[in-house]
Each structure stands twice: as C-alpha cells, then as structure tokens.
C-alpha cells in the first residue's frame, strides 16, 4: 500500500499537478508517525500509511491556502476537507484528496483502537479524488449510544464529571491547535482587549474555555477526534464533540462536512427550529 501511495504522489508531483503532498512518515519509533510535507518526487519514499497514522492532516490546509496540495486522508478526515471548503478556507480545485483505506488506527497511549474506529462507516473512504488500498468490510453504522448513555446521568453528576475533567486542563490549547476548524487568526481565548477569558489556569475558566470552543465548533466540528488525541491530560473531549454531532443531527438534521449545499444550523433561521434550549 505504501508503494501504491508513493507512486501516486510521485506522479502528481512530477506532473506538477501539486506543489505539496501532505502525508505521514515514520517518527522516532515504530509506533509513531508524524506529518510529512513532500515537495519533490525523490522525497516520496518517506511516505507511509499504517495503523499509527492517527493525525487529521486536514489541519494543514488552512495553513497552506495558496498552494496546490495532495492530501492523504483517512475516510474520517474527508468531511474536514469538505467543511473547510464550505467555509471558504481554500478552494476545492487546490486540493487533491487521496483517500487511504484504513482498518482503524491505534492510539499508542492505550494500544487500543479509539472509539471512533469501533463504529466507523468510512473505512473505505468516500468522496476522495484517488483511493489507495482496500479496507476490510466496514458496514458498521455510526451510533451515539455512549453519548446517550452519558446523557442519562443527572445534571449534578454530569457537572461533577466535567468539573473533575476540566480541573486537569493545563490550558496548553493543544486541542484548539490541532482542530482543523479552529483556524481563527486570533483566538478569543488569548485576546486581551477585551479579555473574554481570564488567562489563569483555573477550573472555572478552563470550563468556560472548553464550553465556548464547543459552541464555536458546533455544526462545524466533523468529530475527527484530533482534540481528544492531542490532549496531554486525557480529557475525554470526544464525548463533547460527539454530543455536538448528535445534537446537530437530532435537532437540525445536519451533519458537518456531509452535504456541500446544506447551511450550518447556527447561521440559518427557520420557524420550525427546535427551541429545546430556550426556557
């Protein structure tokens, strides 16, 4: 599969179809990969794809707006590309999406497959310009059972749970930095005039930061779990992002990065909009 991938990229680079290819390369040990930016045909030998390729490379699109890019995407990364195109962060013509068939990645911290791979419907990528490899059967439909289970807890229990989680937060902003849709040139969390958020690492302020970030990415977050993977203190952000996806689906029948023509729920108004949040 690596060979197939390298040949494809080599071809694209020599034909000058793209300036960059963004993929994965081996990092310091066999369980680690890191993003690789390849500009010449000779360099393509670095590129690999395996079960440790956990990063969502869609992140780099917003940073390389002007170039023509070949981007290696797992099936679950492709909605990110669509969402960013929709938000006019770059034009679709400037990116060639190379879908890599994936049988699920491994989180090297736990040595297990993350939750998203366990109920993944896109092991064989959909909507890519080129696809490499073939995945084993991937018919599992996505479900929100774990979120629904969590929702059953009482408000107090939920609050206690999150208070404990956000106490751990060290405000390193890794979750924001790896988030492909958190591309604001100047994040509210670090503004000083006015100071939307206190810069102290403090349980309450941390909670505010995460809640505001979640509100900002509602209807835009493609639930790629990059934030969850990046968190150095293991805050289960995936529970929140998945809740966002669930609410978008259930309240507005909207799925981020799915339909290029659908308007995001928070920037449209319809008389039939649910008002469950309004007292």
């Amino acid at each position: 599969m690596d060979k197939e991938l390298q040949d494809l990229i080599k071809k694209l680079l020599t034909e000058k179809k793209v300036d960059y290819a963004i993929g994965y390369e081996k990092a310091y040990d066999e369980f680690s990969t890191r993003p690789a930016f390849v500009t010449s045909a000779e360099d393509t030998a670095r590129l690999i794809f395996n079960k440790y390729c956990i990063n969502n490379l869609g992140l780099y699109l917003t940073k390389l707006k002007k170039n023509k890019i070949a981007l290696i995407c797992k099936g679950c990364d492709i909605p990110t590309v669509r969402e960013l195109v929709k938000e006019k962060q770059f034009s679709r013509e400037n990116v060639i999406v190379i879908g890599a068939a994936c049988d699920g990645v491994l989180d090297k911290r736990t040595g297990k497959q993350p939750e998203k791979c366990l109920n993944c419907g896109v092991k064989q990528p959909k909507g890519a310009d080129f696809t490499v490899g073939t995945a084993k059967d991937s018919t599992t439909a996505r479900n929100f059972n774990d979120v629904a289970e969590f929702e059953k807890k009482s408000s107090k229990e939920k609050m206690q749970f999150w208070d404990r989680q956000f106490e751990k937060c060290i405000r390193c902003y890794a979750c924001r930095n790896v988030c492909p849709v958190c591309y604001c040139p100047d994040c509210f969390a670090q503004r000083s005039m006015p100071e939307y958020l206190n810069k102290n690492v403090d349980a309450e302020e941390n909670k505010m930061f995460h809640m505001i970030r979640m509100q900002h990415v509602f209807g835009r977050c493609t639930d790629c779990k990059a934030c969850d993977t990046a968190c150095p203190v293991n805050i289960p952000l995936t529970l929140l992002t998945k809740k966002l996806a669930k609410d978008a689906k259930e309240l507005f029948n909207y799925e981020s990065g799915a339909d290029m023509d659908a308007r995001p729920p928070l920037s449209t108004y319809d008389e039939d909009d649910p008002e469950s949040g309004i007292m």
Binding site: E87, C184, C187, F188, P194, S267
Partner: protein, 662 residues
C-alpha cells in the same frame, strides 16, 4: 482619563417617587472617572439641559451619563445637548431608571434604588469605553412606491405627486378604486361614493408624476430607507396596450361561471372583464381560471371581436425590479366572514347578507341596478333586520376590537332603504351606538327620528328560515322582552379584518403586525403613520379599521412624511453599525450568511503588506446595526460601534460586582 458627568433625573415624581435619586447621584460621584454628579427635577427641560451644558464647561467633561427614562424617549435630546456643548454626541449613555426601575419596582424602594445605582454604574462603565463617532450620509432615491390603489393609496399618490415627486402606484386588482368604489353612498352626508371617488381615480391616472401598475403585486423587497429595491410581479392581463376599452370583448364573452368580486359574489362576471364600468385603467383582463380558451383550448371569441387586436393569450407574468426611496403601504382590509356565526346561519342562508353586499344591492351600478331584492328569490323586501357587531367586539370570535364604521354604515343603509322604499321597515340590533365624528351622532339620530328606524338594544340568538321568511329571534334588553321579527332580509354589519395574506406581506418589509394582523404603527399616538421600518409608512385600514375621512387624512399624512424625507439632500444614517477588523477576520463567511440586510461583502483584500486574504467588509449604508454578525463571528473580528465587546463586557463585569455604597 475619562471625565464623566452623571446627571440623575427625577422625572417629577415618576422616578424620584420610588428611587432615592440623591443617593444615586452621591454614589455616582464616588465612581472613578466621574467628575460631577447631580440630580435635577426634569433633565430634559431647558434648565435641565443647561445644567448639563454648564457642567460640561465647568468641569471639562468629555462624556455623559444621563440616568433618566428610556433612550427611545430622550437619547436624541441628550445627544443634541452634548453636541451643543461641544462633545461628540455618541459619548452619551442613558441609564433607564424610569421604565426599568421606578415604574416596575415601586413596591420596594430600597431595592429599586440599588438597581438604579447599578444601572447608572453600568452606563458609566460603558461610556468610559465609548468612542467618538460621526454621522454618515446615504443617498435618497426620490421616488415613492404606493402599494394598494384604494382611496388611501390614491390620496397618498396624488399628494406625493403634487409635491413634484414620482410615484408608482401598485394595485393587485385590475382597477384602482378599492373598497370605496364598491360603496353606494357615504355617511354622514349621503353623497354618492363613486361621484367623489372617480375624479380622484382619473386624476391619479392622468397625473404625469404617477405611474399606475394594476394587476400587479409586490413579491420581494430588499434595501432600506432611501434605497428600497422592490420586485413587482406584473400578472399577465392577456390584453396588451392596444386596448381602447371599448368593452366588446366583455359583452361577447360566453363564460359566465366566475362570480364578480366587485359585486361581492352576488352576480356572475365574464372571464374577460373590467371590475366595474368606471374602472381605471379601463382595460379588461382575462381571468385564466375561468376563460374557456385557457380551460379547454377552444373559444377565442374575444380575439375575434377585438377591433384593435389587443388580445394576447401568450402573455406571461412579468417581473420588474425598481428602486424607491420610500414606501406607503395601503393594502386595505377584508370583510369579516360570518360563516362561523352559527346563530346567523353559518353563512349558508342566502338572504343573510353582509353589509358590503347590501351596498352592491342598493347601488345603481350593482347587479340589481339598485333594486333591493332577496338574493334567494329576487322578491322585493318589506322588513329588513340589521345586526351590528358581527366579527367586532366579540371575544369569542377572537375579534374583540370595534371596527369603528359599522354603526355608521348600518344607519346609512337603513336610511337608504327607507329612501328607496318608504313602505319598508328597518330594525337594528345593536350593543351600543358608536358615532364619534363630525355630524355622526346627528346622523344616527336622524335615522331613528326622521326615518323611523327601530333600534333594539340586544343581540340576535337565532335566525330561522320559515315559509319564505326569516325569523329573527333576539332580545331587547331595554324593555327586557324577547323579540321575534319576521324579516325578508337580514343585513349583517360585518366588521373589518386584515387582508388575507397580510402577515406574509408584512414579512416582505419586516414590518410587525398586531395579534389580528393589522400593521403596527411606530407609536400609537406620536408616530401613527410610521412603522418600525424607516421609510415604510402605513395608511388606511391595513393599520386598523377606520372610516373614509380618517383614511384620507392618514394617507395625506404619509404623503407629508414621504415628502419630508425626499426634501432632504441626503439621508442621515446612525453610525451605530458593525465594523470588521480584517486582520483577525478568517473569511469563513459566517457573518455574510447570517446578515439579514445583505450588508456584508466578501472581498479579497491586502490586509497586511503582501498578504491578500478573503475577508468580510461591512457596507456602511446598508448595515442596520442589528449585531447578528457580531454574535456569529468566532474570531471576534466584528464589533458593533457604540456597543463594542469591550463596552458590553465592562458592563457585565460591573453588573456582577457588589455595590460599594457607604
């Protein structure tokens, strides 16, 4: 450092009766940046304003807080005061301690005073961050759109045109004239309605400044005062401009299935028709839902008989888009449909008719040429019962309002009946008589005393059909007796209700309407013809039921407003609008998508040297300052002038801090 002056108003006892104003002023004096804090009986009065001006000069103030009434009431006043004293008018903040405190918290003076102190403190926090803003100007398209060709629309159009401005008068029906054209005589003078209306219709048609557009509807509106862009649908008339109005087509048309809207469905009309003989313009239209040719593909008689070849079956609906500086909405009313009044036969008894149908029956241009006969068997009538307040003053029918004209038109109709047929007897069931207006009460008295109309105070409980007669059962509450009248005809005084589709129409302009659907004026007393949308005015019964004199007065008032607007060289625009910091804009187009006024433009722009980015820009003359974009922007690149995030957050912070009053 800011130099702030705080001025606390007593508003007589309106505020001072509840709030300890001296304590508020004393507390204000202790706040950082506040150089002077005083209280005064009426800040808005001349001496009150002079106190402010003197304080500005004496203490070198550069910003003001006025703790008084709602900014809707006097913000403009105090901005002008500041301007007179040489301060930028946008350095003024108001703390509303009347509506928000004194009027709603009169039960707890201590807490009310604390709230007043807090609101004042918040205003101080906000004004500290205020920035000087300057007024902006926008061009005005000096052309008015009048929607609705009834007497209100005609009058407004004539008056605006008389001042020398161009007017486009749009009417949905094939002719202008509206409801007034349907009436026979008008109260209280009993002059012929058509005789006084027709000259106005003709004048409107002949005025070089007025363009008539009949059989047309407004479908889309964008823009704002001075620059409305309106899309109008010209419905296909199927008759082109060669028509000379000879009427041969109408005479020869074989189709008689459709019912005449003008005659209130009392008579059939042809498929090609003008609504009434004096129609303006006198050009017929083909009703495609009734025309034999459009239904079956055969006929074309009108085309054959037309001497000028004016019939055009291929005509299509046409859309035009034009610009206007101001709009007069005069869309009129509908008559209440009494089919949900069980006691009056659910609208199914043929000889129970509406007041407007009676107008058509007694009118010499009506279907019976002025002979009042029963619609069921065309027999002449002897006893006629009039019932008032049908769909008016009736809580159960969700029409609790008074329609204002029914008492008068019933008296008029009873008199006309007696005039035409001296041997008839008219009975009127009423709740009470409302005849406020010049010569109105005398008119009703005349109906009773000279014409012998029998007024019975009470309601009708049931109408039966029995042996070619209608048996009307009711109560006469004055004598306490139950009455039964054998009538030949029952005329209901149907009230007014909003035109069908009034709410949808209001949405085109973002106008608001009341719970019934009548359009809301800006202020019930002081701005009765303006709406919340600047540049859009209302006239006539679309705003509330009213009689002809009131309608004409209101229409002329809208014309005065339009002319006042057009007399200005340029339009002053409030600078309280959004602005984008393009350095922090990520170009995600969220603001562009949420803006209800299309006031955001996306541009590729060099934001830093050598860095061209896709960013948002606010079109200053289009922005209304609603703030939707500010809330939507993730990167906080948009801010609302006069309500910046810094100001609002400072207010929030102040609001949540305890009062340090000692």
């Amino acid at each position: 450092m800011a130099r702030i002056g705080v001025f606390v108003c007593h508003c007589g006892t309106n505020i001072a009766g509840v709030v300890d104003v001296t304590r508020v002023a004393k507390y204000a004096g202790s706040l950082p940046g506040v150089k002077v804090a005083v209280d005064y009986k009426f800040m808005c009065s001349d001496p009150g304003q002079n106190t402010i001006i003197d304080a500005i000069k004496k203490y070198g103030l550069d910003r003001l807080v006025v703790s008084a009434c709602s900014p809707r009431m006097h913000e403009a006043t105090f901005r002008r005061t500041a301007e007179r004293a040489g301060i930028n008018p946008y350095m003024v903040e108001m703390a509303n301690i009347r509506e928000h405190v004194a009027w709603v918290h009169s039960d707890d003076k201590e807490l009310a005073t604390q709230k007043a102190m807090k609101l004042m403190e918040m205003a101080v926090a906000k004004v500290r961050r205020s920035e000087a803003l300057s007024k902006m100007f926008a061009p005005i398209e000096k052309r008015a759109l009048v929607i609705g060709g009834g007497i209100a629309g005609i009058q407004a159009a004539l008056d605006i045109a008389g001042a020398g401005y161009k007017v486009l008068l749009v009417e949905k029906e094939p002719s202008i004239g509206g409801r007034m054209a349907q009436l026979d005589k008008t109260f209280p003078t009993l002059d012929c309605s058509a005789c006084i209306l027709t000259p106005k219709m003709v004048a409107a048609a002949q005025d070089p400044n007025i363009t008539l557009l009949t059989y047309a509807e407004v479908t889309e509106v964008c823009g704002f005062v001075g620059q409305f862009e309106v899309k109008i649908k010209k419905k296909a008339k199927s008759v082109n401009s060669k028509c000379i109005g000879c009427g041969v087509c109408t005479t020869k048309c074989p189709s008689k299935k459709a019912l005449s809207e003008f005659d209130e469905k009392l008579a059939p009309r042809k498929a090609i028709y003008t609504p009434f003989p004096q129609a303006v313009p006198n050009v017929p239209v083909i009703d495609r839902t009734a025309c034999t040719f459009f239904l079956t593909g055969k006929c074309k008689i009108c085309e054959k008989v037309c001497p000028t070849g004016a019939i055009d079956y291929t005509q299509q609906d046409e859309f035009i888009k034009e610009k206007f500086g101001a709009v007069v909405v005069a869309t009129g009313f509908d008559i209440y449909d009494h089919s949900n009044y069980g006691e009056y036969g659910y609208g199914e008894i043929k000889d129970v008719i509406t007041g407007l149908q009676f107008e058509r029956l007694i009118s010499s241009t009506g279907p019976t040429a002025g002979h009042v006969t029963r619609p069921s068997d065309h027999r002449e009538v002897k006893n006629v019962v009039f019932i008032q307040c049908v769909g008016s003053r009736d809580e159960a029918k969700k029409r609790p309002y008074c329609s204002r004209v029914c008492c008068m038109y019933t008296a008029k109709q009873a008199m006309l009946l007696k005039d035409h047929y001296p041997e008839t007897q008219a009975y009127v069931f009423y709740i009470d008589i409302r005849s406020a207006g010049k010569n109105y009460e005398e008119f009703v008295q005349r109906a009773q005393n000279e014409y012998g109309v029998l007024y019975l105070r009470g309601r009708v409980s049931k109408i039966y059909e029995r042996a070619n007669k209608l048996l009307v059962k009711g109560a006469d509450t004055l004598s306490g007796a139950q009455v039964e009248i054998e009538a030949d005809l029952v005329v209901l005084a149907n009230g007014f209700e909003p035109k069908k589709g009034a709410k949808e129409f209001a949405q085109l302009f973002h106008m608001s309407s009341d719970q019934y659907g009548f359009y809301n004026e800006l202020h019930p007393k002081l701005a009765p013809v303006e709406t919340a949308i600047s540049g859009v005015f209302v006239a006539g019964c679309c705003q509330s039921p009213k009689d002809i004199p009131d309608t004409v007065a209101m229409a002329s008032a809208t014309a005065a407003k339009v002319c006042a607007l057009f007399a200005k060289e340029k339009l002053e625009v409030e600078p309280l609008i959004a602005g984008v910091n393009q350095l922090t804009c990520s170009g995600c187009e969220t603001c562009y998508n949420v803006c209800p006024y299309s006031a955001i433009e996306m541009k590729d722009k060099e934001v830093k040297r050598g860095e061209v980015r896709h960013v948002a820009e606010v079109l200053e003359s289009v922005c209304k300052g609603c703030g939707a974009c500010v809330g939507a922007c993730y990167s906080k690149a948009v801010d609302l002038k006069g309500f910046t995030d810094r100001q609002v957050l400072d207010q929030v912070e102040t609001a949540t801090a305890p009062i340090t009053d000692n």
